[in-house]
């Protein structure tokens, strides 16, 4: 085993004996572009709604629930799809989330929430995890569209304006609140909230 590693390492660090420098640099560059393009396209595909609802757990539960909500059906036709709220937009954080999502592949293969009953039973845990993620990044996925600086409080209802100019303006670090603290369950049904 050790010999094998050593042999490969030696091949890796020794200069090329057959290929020209031009082939290696230009070929490497083009290969890199092709690889990066393919990688990004594949990753973007996992961000599409079609991919998410390709699995029946998502299609029969959460996708049914979002349809009557304002994020799916509204007057202006703007629609927030799965990845808009559940996957960070910045590359580094997106990669981190995608790696965490490998656990969901495991769950899919072994049918952890494969039936409605299993899904309902586990729902609180899943929701708590997502709420914790939103709290930790100060509801970043909400703010990708709903920018606090751009809110016109005079166009909001009184209770909305009170909450947004009070708790939300203060921020979570100053004892205030972040979006998800009040807006739980706006895009999906709430789990069993017993004890809350």
């Amino acid at each position: 085993m050790r010999d094998l590693v050593r042999r490969y390492w030696r091949t890796l660090i020794s200069p090329s004996a057959y290929y020209s420098l031009g082939f290696l640099t230009i070929g490497g560059f083009i290969g890199g572009i092709l690889f990066w393009g393919a990688f990004n396209t594949a990753m973007e595909f996992t961000n599409t709604e079609r991919f998410c609802i390709g699995c029946h757990v998502m299609r029969d539960n959460v996708y049914q629930e979002i349809q009557p909500t304002i994020h799916f059906t509204n007057r202006s036709g703007v629609r927030a799809k799965c990845a808009d709220c559940h996957v960070p937009h910045d590359w580094t954080f997106k990669m981190a989330r995608k790696m965490q999502a490998s656990k969901e592949v495991w769950g899919f293969i072994f049918g952890t929430i494969g039936t409605r009953e299993k899904f309902v039973a586990k729902r609180r845990e899943l929701a708590e995890r997502e709420w914790a993620r939103f709290r930790a990044n100060d509801s970043l996925e909400c703010r990708n569209c709903h920018e606090f600086q751009a809110m016109d409080f005079t166009r909001q209802s009184k209770r909305g304006a009170d909450a947004h100019s009070g708790s939300l303006a203060a921020g979570i670090n100053a004892g205030g609140k972040t979006c998800i603290d009040c807006h739980k369950g706006i895009a999906h049904r709430l789990p069993d909230m017993a004890g809350q």
């Binding site: 304002i70 209802s157 009184k158 049904r189 909230m193």
Partner: protein, 148 residues
Amino acid sequence: MKRLSLLFLIPFFFWGNAFSQHDPLRGPARVDEVGKAAPMVNTENNDKKRVRSYAMQPPTIPHKTDNYQVDRFANKCITCHARTRVGETQATPISITHYTDRDGNFLADVSPRRYFCEQCHVVQMQTEPPVKNRFQDVDALIRKQQKK
């Protein structure tokens, strides 16, 4: 002979009804026609308390409640109107009458029989009712009587 002539009138009775009598909620559509649906109206959403028509009337909801979840898992209304949350939300706290069981015993929390808020409390729409209401407030009745 007299009876037979009455029988003869029966079809005319139905024929007349079909053209003259309209259900006010149906609008001007005939019974055998499908009426055109009125445009949908918005919910009043100004957070202003409304006058109650009588003392025991369940207060109406002065805000939108679209997609509010009220089921065995969660109650969206209570998240703001619960006794412990009104400080934060400035919502109207749930009345003390909702904390008793049907025998009048006080409970620690809202009674299950009062759990489904929208059985009694409803939103109001920004529209005129299609059927007029002749209800009179009890105060108006008393005042009328005092004048006599």
